[in-house]
């Protein structure tokens, strides 16, 4: 028995290495913690990037890990945002309670709508999710007495975090709060992607026919991951509401879903970090460009995107990875 174990341990080590947190990942999160202290005037922006990154992570679960293309993911973000907003506007001002309820509401919506996705190809799914998103936007618009319609939901007053920390002008509390929540959810998603469930999910994305033949209940897993992604999107939406203390109807907009997709592709799909990196890159470039030229910045962003598609497949992370590989090969060559 022990001999058996030792022989196989090589392979266990291999799997463990895949699962273990890499030093670079730790640096990534430590750097994010450092932002809190090093850039105290940029915390609102930083927390919005993190929220968008978290939202993109939830899209990555669908697009990168389950292979579901969606253009209506803002629906769940919006449901979360409105749920948290309505709770706060009606007296339940505890932020954590808001997160939980928002996640649950988005999850229920995700669970119900997942059944519409079982048929058809990518384009059909794309359009059905898009249609659901647009319908929801119209619902929020016509239910103006509840949601505030296009003027936005007013009176969102969020209480102190844990009864101790008020949300301030500089966004210190907001950033710390968003960072902790993002990290916890990320860690959860990360470990899930390395669990037996995540392995099954990856296999499904790789080859649905085989996954079915191996015994994976495809539709059940899809429903499941769709629901989970909706929960996380909903929590991201709630975070935005709580840190902005306002809900605009644009949380449900097609624009938000489309931008998110672009960010995720820029960052790189199925990498877990692609969402955060893509959101950061997209939003910072947009911010810089629009400061340089508020009117025509889209032109330069567009040029960047075009250049990227032609020369940087696989997103930023993929591109950087290949660059590193190239350098390594060159070094190896020189050595030999």
């Amino acid at each position: 028995m022990s001999e058996k174990l030792s022989r196989a341990s090589n392979h266990l080590t291999f799997l463990r290495t895949l699962e273990r947190w890499k030093p670079a990942e730790i640096v990534f999160w430590v750097a994010l913690v450092a932002v809190q202290f090093v850039f105290p005037t940029s915390l609102v922006f930083a927390s919005q990037i993190l929220i968008t990154g978290l939202f993109a992570l939830s899209l990555d679960m669908l697009l990168g890990y389950a292979g579901i293309v969606t253009l209506g993911h803002a629906a769940f973000f919006g449901i979360g945002a409105y749920t948290a907003g309505l709770l706060a506007a009606h007296g339940w001002q505890d932020p954590l309670l808001g997160l939980v309820v928002a996640g649950a509401a988005a999850g229920i919506a995700g669970y119900l709508s997942s059944f519409l996705l079982s048929r058809g190809g990518d384009l059909t799914r794309l359009m059905i999710t898009l249609g659901i998103g647009l319908l929801l936007f119209e619902v929020a618009n016509s239910a103006a007495s509840i949601t505030g319609g296009v003027d936005g939901l007013q009176g969102v007053a969020v209480g102190k975090l844990l009864g101790l920390f008020a949300f301030d002008l500089y966004g210190k509390t907001a950033y710390a709060y968003v960072l902790v929540v993002s990290f916890l959810l990320f860690a959860f998603v990360r470990s899930m992607m390395h669990s037996p469930y995540g392995l099954a999910l990856r296999s499904m994305r790789e080859n649905q026919v085989r996954a079915l033949a191996v015994g994976i209940p495809i539709n059940a897993v899809l429903t499941n991951i769709y629901t989970l992604a909706a929960v996380i999107a909903g929590i991201a939406g709630a975070l935005l509401t709580q840190t902005t203390q306002f809900v605009g109807i644009d949380v449900l907009s097609f624009q938000r879903s489309a931008d998110l997709l672009v960010m995720l592709i820029i960052g790189g799909t199925a990498t877990l970090y692609g969402g955060f990196v893509g959101a950061a890159a997209f939003m910072m470039v947009q911010d810089r460009l629009s400061n340089l030229n508020p009117q025509y910045w889209q032109f330069f962003l567009g040029v960047l995107l075009i250049v990227m598609t032609l020369y940087l497949r696989g997103g930023l992370l993929g591109g950087l990875g290949r660059l590193a590989a190239l350098c390594k090969r060159r070094r190896d060559k020189e050595r030999s």
């Binding site: 059905i128 898009l130 659901i132 672009v262 592709i265 025509y296 075009i306 598609t309």
Partner: protein
Amino acid sequence: MHSLLGVLFDGLAYGSLLFVISVGLSITLGLMGFNNLAHGVFAMAGGYLLVTLMGAAGLGFLPALPIVFCAVALGSLVLERTLYRPLYKSTPLIQVLLSVGIIFVATAGANFMFGSGQQPVVIPEWLGGQLSFLGLDLSRYRLFLMAIVAAITAGLVFGLERTRFGAKIRASVDNQRMAESMGIRVDRVFQLTFALGSGLAGLGGALGVDVLGLDPSFAVKYLVYFLLVVVVGGPGSVFGTLLAALLLGVADVAGKYYVPQFGAFIIYAAMIILLLLFPHGLLGRRKSK
């Protein structure tokens, strides 16, 4: 009864408009498999070109239309060669990213060149107003649109089903390697197909200005409608696109007339229901693997 016929006419006319602006996408998406979300950019280019031709160059509405079609088709060839072709075999996501980039550039470019406001277009006198026919008031411009739709459909169906070029397209789409081995220059065929699709987009944009308006965000504003019609119809099927456009048009107009309080929901709800019933589009071909 009278209002029913009127609503039906309006619905078909609206459907015709949807068809005109979407059929080009059906061709690039369905036949070439390229996820060109920047379809609206070509439509927008057509619109601005029409406005410029009629305004600055003083051309009439009718003579301007074929010029718009040809100019947009030619212009698209340049883009095809430089941007699109390298990505034919790429993943859909990368294609989406490229088209989003093109949309950004075009939106900002149009804003820079033409300003952010609405563009004027004056359709000729004889196309304005209404025509009384058997007690029905029919809009002349809508009738004109329907005639154009009939012409485009006939032309496309004939072109794709009956001509050598059509046969080449179908062969290239079905099996690229086989087509190449038969001596078809697939890249040339795709190039022309792309130009055709873009030219039609430009024409649709030009015809749509009078009804839809024209400003720099045109390409994004109507993106959803292009996709809606094409996907419901089944990409690549001209008849499917026509059927979907007319169905959605009639559903939308009838819904707005009879239950105006649900005006905004109808077209999306109709799309979802149609897609659940026909996951591959009304006349879509199941892609064999």
